[in-house]
Symmetry: C2
Subunit: 343 residues, 2 copies
């Protein structure tokens, strides 16, 4: 298939593009490179032995989207499906600059869907997030829970899920997968591609990795008095290569199923912050320094997926454990201490 991957130069995007190429699909990446680097795609091309087409364009620009679909059709290889990663993703930033988030994420997606509809492309796999479940204390999280995001970033994901759901309900030609990611970590085992956050990492693993590689002094652990075995928060970390495989499984499913589908992509197991720090220390061959800090408002004690729907429907499940996640993340980080910047 010929697949348009928005945000394909980013962390999850680049790993999914590689998996798509390895599975024999044709890929065109649409990315504004606002928070990513074309170097990731150059390396994906090296790993796959095939160059990756990159259209540098912004979802806020309807004419550019139209041109991307029209250009592929004119070249005799029309887009058949879209995997939609592009979007801003930092919770704190979304609280400070909500209009930027609603513009990039919600408006950008409506623009994308409008272009798809105009070009008769109605298969889409969307990057949603477990964030849509909000502050529920129910675990494991199942897809049947109501959506109740608690910050602007999460609300953009919820809005997009609502828009896609209404679209699928209105027009049976659409085939829609909403993938709710838990906590993506790790990197391709080659160590050539991985997460390259701009500025201070918002998520635990890249922060731990930057401490281990010497870019930061120590990890701050927010709260050690939660009702969990070691008192620190428990999350469901999933290897990015497993996550990428979930996108291919969803795309395969949509080839034979219309309608709107929602799947959690997680392992179904939780790891505590201290377990992650210890596992990363084992991977790096040295302990990772940390200090305990107060809890952050809005953080749940425990959150992990019920991934049984994805297993039942897609035959997909995560296979890589926490030690593998840390080993692969460390290989990427230690081989590329400053991410793609030195390349």
């Amino acid at each position: 298939m010929k697949i348009l991957v928005t945000g394909g130069a980013g962390y999850i995007g680049s790993h999914t593009v590689l998996a798509l190429l390895e599975a024999g699909h044709d890929v065109v990446v649409l990315d504004n490179l606002a928070n990513s680097s074309a170097e990731s795609l150059r390396r994906v091309g090296e790993l796959a032995g095939r160059d990756v087409d990159l259209v540098r364009a912004d979802l806020r620009d309807p004419a550019a989207l139209d041109a991307a679909f029209a250009g592929a059709a004119r070249a005799g290889a029309p887009i058949e499906a879209v995997i939609h990663f592009a979007g801003l993703k930092a919770v704190g930033e979304s609280v400070a600059e909500p209009l930027r988030y609603y513009t990039n994420n919600t408006v950008g997606t409506v623009n994308l869907l409008t272009a798809m509809d105009a070009h008769d492309v109605r298969t889409i796999v969307f990057s949603s997030s477990a964030t849509v479940y909000g502050a529920t204390e129910e675990v494991p999280l199942t897809e049947k829970l109501p959506l109740d995001a608690i910050n602007p970033y999460g609300r953009t994901k919820e809005q997009i899920e609502d828009i896609l759901s209404d679209l699928g309900d209105a027009d049976s030609r659409w085939r829609i997968a909403l993938l709710r990611y838990f906590n993506p970590v790790g990197a391709h085992e080659s160590g050539r591609i991985g997460e390259d956050p701009t500025g201070v990492p918002n998520n635990l693993l890249p922060f731990v990795a930057q401490v281990a590689v010497g870019r930061r002094e120590k990890v701050r652990v927010f709260g050690d008095d939660y009702p969990t075995p070691d008192g620190t928060g428990v999350r469901d970390y999933i290897h990015v290569v497993d996550l990428a495989a979930g996108h291919l499984a969803a795309l395969d499913y949509l080839a034979s199923h219309g309608g709107v589908h929602r799947w959690n992509l997680g392992t179904g197991h939780g790891s505590s912050v201290l377990e992650v720090i210890e596992a990363f220390g084992r991977a790096a061959g040295k302990p990772v320094p940390y200090e305990i800090a107060p809890r952050r408002p809005g953080d749940a004690a425990v959150s992990y997926a019920d991934p049984s729907s994805a297993l039942a429907d897609l035959g997909w499940s995560a296979t890589r454990d926490l030690d593998t996640m840390c080993a692969d993340h460390w290989r990427w980080q230690s081989n590329n201490p400053n991410g793609y910047a030195e390349a």
Copy 2:
């Protein structure tokens, strides 16, 4: 004040523009006239003794919005506040064409807010709807209820409320009023302006009015076995002139209060479908024929506002009763049997 009124040529918009002019404000209307007529504004101008500036533009066109704000500033009368009515509003249509609704309403509003921010205009009164409360059976409805819209139209209103709420929380320069309308009916007492629905009216009163004036055969009453005094659904009808006054009260309030405010605009009293049909018959001087039809899915038995917050904060309450609503609506309908079309 110089006020930009989006959708100012529409039903509620035109009545509010008249009230603004009568209160001494300067008004510029921005309207794409997709579902309204410039004739309404011509008549508003006649009633007010002042012409109304109309910019024919679409919220989906960011450049046109920018030009409207820039043009007013260049002319020495910069926009100071916005009353935002523009949007699509038919529930059934929104189910069939959700992307059109999300584009016009959600994307259009994000575009408007972006233009406002760029031009340092951060006071907005937004046309929300009691629809945001969804299928709750709680009455009276208070502003503290969670938002849970049950159709795409309602979800666009909920999304816009969320966006405005996040914006107000992020930046204290914003002054935001979210007005949740109940069921606007009636017309200006002159009989010169009123509701002019395109196609088959979606709401009860305009349908009843078109039956009374002979444009349609009879009213269909959806369900007479609800747990209400006469078995028909009970709603909170509010005179459009009262509603317009609510917008001026909200605007006054924002002159001295920052932040995000939510007010129900309703009477606090419910009327049944049969009570409305009877009241309209009295106003028209002839009975309005009707037949009983099955319930419609999704219709609540009873819904009416708790309008006490608007009274407490704004000193506003609705003063016109059902007979006045019907008398004024009938004057408009009988003087203009085909709405603005004959003008």
